[in-house]
Symmetry: C2
Subunit: 342 residues, 2 copies
């Protein structure tokens, strides 16, 4: 029998994190656990306020879940279809169950999840994100993050050029740029992208508002750098339309309901000739270790959501000179502790 346990957890950040649309100093999490024959699989929903889910919605959702109809955890597609069918949206809490199920499956098979999916043992270089701040503060952050191969810079403000100039004055690390829908004028955006390319940028994430399909497509057609849809691409069904609007997609487990749909999104995007980026929210080592299982399918990896936290309740994936180092243990490869959660 599959049994479910869950518990809220307040994940706190070392520093306040700002993007063009808001800021946060903590993330409300719902931690989940699926157990089968004495083996535990762990999952996590991270629910930044901006995205519409909360401890209340997650609790209501999880209270609806009845897994008594499923005798076999390997009946994965049917279990996840059932979970997805319980309510629209709720993608983060759905992901918490997908992650726990895959952790459980991996442990039952004694295989890391990436091996279960047939993928290589990747040790990807992750970018480290610098939130919106004064140009001087952002440059100071960049200096602190000198072990990372890439810096991800949140733009989409009136100060974009000053920020980049300040950071570039202290480091030559290439940039992943995330405008978070902050650019409103396509001609200005294109000019800025040309300038950002000259400053050493790898790609541009969500340049304009996701509703502006024409504007984003116009930019993608002309941009000298690849564009990546984030807010515009939540789930598998969104890729077909996005393929004519962006060069790539940002897959985040909390948007797409978990590892299995994330895998399908990566497969589909690559089949359509698109680039694949792996992203995250503010998360513990649980969800980050889960996402890293798919790194073998990713062109770019931005899995830094656990690095600036102060009370991560799991140990899991490591970091060495900017590279993520999965433990290679069965499942997603994490260990609960130091605090007792369940």
């Amino acid at each position: 029998m599959l049994t479910l346990a869950f518990k809220p957890y307040d994940l706190r950040l070392k520093h306040v994190f700002r993007i063009s649309r808001g800021s946060r100093s903590n993330a409300p999490l719902m931690l989940t656990r699926l157990s089968f024959e004495g083996i535990h699989g762990y999952g996590e929903a991270s629910m930044p306020v901006l995205y519409g889910e909360s401890l209340a919605t997650a609790t209501a959702f999880l209270n609806q879940v009845d897994l008594s109809g499923f005798a076999d955890p390997f009946d994965t597609e049917r279990i996840l279809q059932y979970i997805d069918s319980l309510a629209p949206g709720n993608t983060a809490v759905k992901a918490s169950l997908d992650i726990a199920l895959h952790d459980l499956i991996g442990k039952l098979l004694q295989l890391p999840v990436h091996r279960y999916f047939g993928l290589p043992a990747a040790q990807p270089y992750t970018s480290m994100t610098i939130g919106v701040d004064t140009p001087d503060e952002m440059a100071k952050k960049a200096l602190k993050y000198n072990e990372f191969r890439y810096l991800k810079i949140k733009l989409g403000t009136a100060d974009d050029r000053a920020m980049i100039t300040a950071i570039r004055s202290v480091t030559q690390q290439p940039f992943f740029i995330d405008a978070n829908q902050g650019w409103k004028n396509k001609e200005e955006a294109l000019e800025l992208i040309h300038w950002l390319k000259a400053q050493g940028t790898v790609f541009i994430e969500q340049p304009m508002p996701r509703e502006d399909i024409t504007g984003n497509a116009w930019l993608t057609e002309r941009s000298p750098l690849p564009t990546v849809g984030d807010e515009a691409v939540q789930r598998l069904a969104d890729i077909s339309r996005a393929s004519s609007t962006y060069h790539g997609i940002n897959i985040k487990l909390m948007k797409c309901t978990g590892i299995r749909e994330g895998f399908k999104m990566a497969v589909t995007a690559k089949a359509l000739g698109m680039k694949v980026m792996l992203g995250c929210m503010t998360e513990t080592s649980c969800a980050i270790s889960a996402a890293a299982q798919l790194a073998g399918l990713a062109d770019w990896v931005d899995l830094d959501g656990h690095l600036d936290t102060v009370n991560n309740p799991y140990t899991g994936i490591g970091l060495s000179e900017g590279q993520l180092v999965p433990t290679g243990e069965p499942g997603i490869g994490i260990t609960p502790g130091p605090a007792e959660i369940f």
Copy 2:
């Protein structure tokens, strides 16, 4: 260590089988076996003359394969990428290795392959195929196949209406129609499709020559029945273009290099809103049992290639009142015998 063995096998048919482009009474096979730690996985390449592969090309290909660089059979993507990289084409012999590898993986995990992919235990209704013959002979065949829920009729000849009329006079079983690129005029094809719909047809496979993208797309836009690309869609990379030319795709392991790419094709096609059909060549229970592992992703199943053979060297998937019944055993669920192959 992964070790490979292979052996040619001549699979013979009870009856000569004709389509609009040729006929056959046997199929040259290459049977393969991958072994790891004393466990054997079985695979098969079926190479009807029409498709360009032969015992000679398969032997040359397999003699190139060197798996000594792979210590772990679960390093699936890398192993299959290596195999795919050895030479272009050769899709059937590549599939024989993919099938053997997945059979091996399933046995190592003690899981049927469909469970390894997270898919339900499907018992799909398969169509039974009636080759091109005189209308009278085709009607006689239809009577013999009365246990099947669907008949697949090979058209694309000057006699299409007479054949259908003769068969319809003896049975009400719905038709899957396969024109095998045999229709050359799009207006006539459309008129015929309307007529075939009235005769109880479910879909139309490869109506016009695969090179005629405009003609097939024109038909798809107007057809009252779904169209399915077969000859036009070999591999994952073909789906993107096919999505504007057909409503669905026919996935055959011998075209697409095996179960893993077939799985990805089904995922991608569904993400693009396309229908998924599973098809086959003249094959033993090995390749048919392998394809049936993906039936949980298929809208339509045409896995009858083992049913009209006289010397099937494996026992595997069963048939009960038109439904395929997988054994549920680990891997692809087959047993060698009665004859000794390896």
